[in-house]
């Protein structure tokens, strides 16, 4: 059942168009993550769903009802802000009860609902404290509690973990994942620029870039089958290596000759007309391995070695415009700076994009 539906939605500030023709169906019970670099419009899109920004064009439906002009409070949504946005002069209890008090709910009901939310979020000892007496993580839990109390159809999270320190971010991320599990019926939309949050929390990820949806899909689908070079390089860390190449053989499998490198066979189909065109050859740093054989993808001198213990990241000298690349090898490696290394990768781990950046898989 569709919970949130965006049809051809756009947003512009005067002549500046920040979102174009967004089409998206979000099912009930999904946790959809909007991810993208700064300024891609992901927060704007979320705020449009919340009703905090007007919708310039298109339709927004929540539970089948047109919501374009409905004020935020009547949309059946609750929002958790990046900056918590707690009411600083109210206790935790009053913060969570504020919405219900405005709605003039009976006191007993308010107490029960707030008590329940506090129990879920382990905030019971802090109910009578002011926000300033709480830690960052506790404040964000209060903000989440305020959302739970509203019992919304859709939860909206706007970068809720950005203000927390690294350790707390991991802990709160897990809490949100557990919260989602305990509320399988609730739809959640979560905005972040952090791909780890996106990959770990999402049932589906929406990758936004420059006001357009680049790809929608399950986290691993995006990782394994990126639709274009942007998604390919945005998902995964370090980013996917992208090398210029020439297409040399077409068919169910495609043969390419990498510029300044070796030849490779990529397991994607291509058509006869593609023969001889310039393409972009992609391979993830973690899919590369060192080889001694003659059958290598590229050869280069190690410029920088980053030994992290669990992995070793090698940066290679740039040769040509697009030729700098990165390799992530497991464990501790004995390779030194300046060493000449040959690299290869399994054929099914290779990606191929046409000159405009579209994956051959999605043409």
């Amino acid at each position: 059942m569709t919970s949130v539906s965006l049809k051809n939605v756009s947003k512009s500030y005067g002549a500046v168009e920040v979102l174009r023709n967004i089409d998206l169906e979000i099912d009930k019970g999904e946790l959809v993550v909007f991810v993208g670099p700064s300024g891609c419009g992901k927060s704007t899109l979320l705020r449009m769903i919340a009703g905090l920004e007007t919708i310039t064009g298109g339709e927004l439906q929540i539970d089948g009802e047109l919501m374009n002009q409905t004020p935020p409070a009547q949309r059946g949504i609750a929002m958790v802000f990046q900056t918590y946005a707690l009411y600083p002069h109210m206790t935790v209890r009053d913060n969570m009860a504020f919405g219900m008090k405005i709605a003039k709910k009976p006191k007993a009901e308010i107490d029960a609902v707030v008590g329940n939310a506090a129990r879920i979020l382990q905030l019971e000892p802090y109910l009578d404290r002011l926000p300033k007496a709480l830690s960052g993580g506790q404040r964000q839990r209060v903000a989440i509690g305020r959302a739970i109390v509203r019992d919304p159809k859709v939860f909206l999270f706007d970068e809720p973990l950005s203000n927390l320190d690294a350790a707390l971010r991991v802990a709160t991320r897990i809490e949100i994942a557990q919260l989602k599990e305990s509320m399988p019926e609730s739809t959640m939309i979560y905005v972040t620029h952090d791909q780890v949050e996106a990959m770990t929390l999402a049932s589906r990820i929406v990758v936004l870039h420059g006001g357009d949806i680049e790809q929608v899909g399950a986290p691993l689908e995006l990782y394994e089958r990126p639709a274009n070079t942007f998604v390919a390089q945005f998902i995964g860390s370090p980013a996917m290596n992208m090398l210029p190449a020439e297409l040399t053989g077409t068919g169910a499998e495609t043969a390419v000759q990498i510029v300044n490198g070796g030849a490779a066979t990529v397991q994607v189909p291509s058509e006869a007309g593609d023969q001889g065109t310039a393409v972009k050859f992609g391979v993830r740093p973690e899919d590369l391995t060192i080889t001694d054989g003659a059958d290598f993808l590229f050869e280069g001198n190690v410029k920088i070695v980053e030994a992290l213990g669990e992995t070793t990241v090698l940066y290679f000298e740039a040769e040509g415009e697009d030729a700098s690349f990165v390799v992530k090898l497991p464990g501790i490696q004995s390779i030194r700076k300046g060493a000449k290394v040959r690299l290869t990768a399994a054929s099914e781990k290779l990606h191929l994009f046409d000159a405009s950046g579209i994956s051959f898989l999605y043409r």
Binding site: A50, A73, T83, A85, H89, F98, R139
Partner: protein, 377 residues
């Protein structure tokens, strides 16, 4: 390094010294006013407040009674008495009988007058004019003397001011003007400031520009037109008129100050309240108002002081009768009709300072930082 390390303390010293200078500049006259208000009127008129603790030297003329006050004592006709009769006694150092030489004799000496008469004045003010034959004449002799008065402090000035000079009534009148003239603009301005900061409506920025523009309009320009308008609509010279006037003149600054403060509140708090279902009025009342206390308090102090100290608007829009004469106008009258009575002036000035100080110190606790702590980050 030395340069940087050396300059900073210097700067701090400069700051401290200027603060000290400013504090002195403000407190010394105030202190002088305070001291003066407790001094005896006669002493105040001849010496500065900084001499309040030292004796005062005064040159006084006393006219002795005419000849009919003489009594015959041991073959001499004598007029005697005390030069301080009816006033506070001092200690006499010099005396004389002519305006050409008012300090010719030391106290206790005997001075030879004309026609064989002698005059002696004791240090305590007792004088004695003696003559071997009966004295004649309708005018008594003049005695010039220099008196050293001990410092005298009194509460009499305050008693006079508060109970007999009509200041008490003016005090009430001023309060009648000031309290509504402070509260009304704050009420209006807070609503307006919220609307201008957070509500979307066409012409909002234009309206704000007009408000800012009104800040620079001199109020003197509108006094006469306003008064004519009041007369036309029948308000005339009344408290309602002066409240409205102060409200009007205070509003631009109030709206501007409050709007800037309210606009500075975190946007997310307002949005969060909107998502929680709060109407604009709810947001204003339950979120914005409690968080705007520092701005409200500082404007309240501004407006209160300005209205309390105002003379111009009160003179124009209020009558000159007992029921409508405010403190400042009363002080001006005291100064005008009895320019010499500094002790009244200083005491009443102090009475009029007391209330603003009280207001400042009681509202000052709302001028706190960190009201938003814990809300966002």
């Amino acid at each position: 390094m030395d340069g940087i390390a050396g300059r900073r303390p210097l700067l701090i010293w400069a700051v401290h010294l200027s603060v000290a200078a400013l504090v002195l500049l403000w407190t010394i006259p105030t202190f002088g006013l305070l001291v003066s208000s407790f001094r005896d009127g006669d002493q105040l008129s001849v010496s500065g407040w900084w001499t309040a603790l030292t004796p005062t030297e005064r040159n006084i003329v006393y006219r002795a009674p005419a000849a009919e006050a003489q009594v015959e004592q041991a073959g001499q006709w004598v007029i005697s008495g005390n030069v301080f009769e009816g006033q506070a006694a001092g200690e006499i150092t010099k005396f004389g009988f002519s305006s050409k030489a008012p300090t010719a004799f030391d106290a206790g000496q005997s001075a030879e007058l004309t026609k064989g008469r002698t005059l002696s004045v004791m240090a305590n003010g007792d004088y004695r004019i003696a003559s071997s034959e009966e004295m004649k004449g309708k005018r008594g002799a003049r005695i010039f003397f220099t008196s050293i008065d001990p410092p005298r402090f009194t509460l009499e000035n305050y008693r006079n001011v508060m109970f007999s000079e009509g200041i008490g009534r003016s005090f009430i009148n001023t309060l009648t003007v000031t309290i509504p003239a402070t509260i009304i603009p704050i009420l209006i301005a807070a609503f307006a400031a919220y609307a201008l900061a957070w509500m979307k409506f066409p012409g909002r920025s234009l309206l704000l520009a007009v408000v800012v523009g009104l800040l620079v309009v001199p109020l003197q320009m509108s006094l006469i037109p306003l008064l004519r308008l009041y007369t036309d609509v029948g308000i005339g010279k009344s408290y309602v008129g002066v409240w409205l006037a102060h409200t009007g003149f205070g509003l631009p600054l109030a709206i501007y100050l409050l709007r800037n403060y309210i606009k500075g509140l975190p946007k997310e708090i307002i949005e969060s309240a909107k998502v929680d279902g709060a109407s604009d009025f709810d947001i204003f009342r339950k979120i914005v108002l409690p968080l705007s206390f520092p701005a409200l308090a500082s404007f309240a102090i501004f407006q209160f002081l300005w209205v309390w100290n105002d003379l111009l608007i009160a003179t124009v829009f209020l009558g000159n009768n007992e029921e409508q004469l405010v403190m400042t106008a009363r002080l001006r009258e005291l100064l005008g009709s009895r320019g010499g009575n500094w002790e009244i002036l200083t005491a009443s000035a102090f009475v009029s300072i007391a209330v603003p100080l009280l207001v400042f110190f009681s509202l000052q606790r709302y001028l706190v930082r960190g009201l938003l702590a814990g809300s966002v980050k």
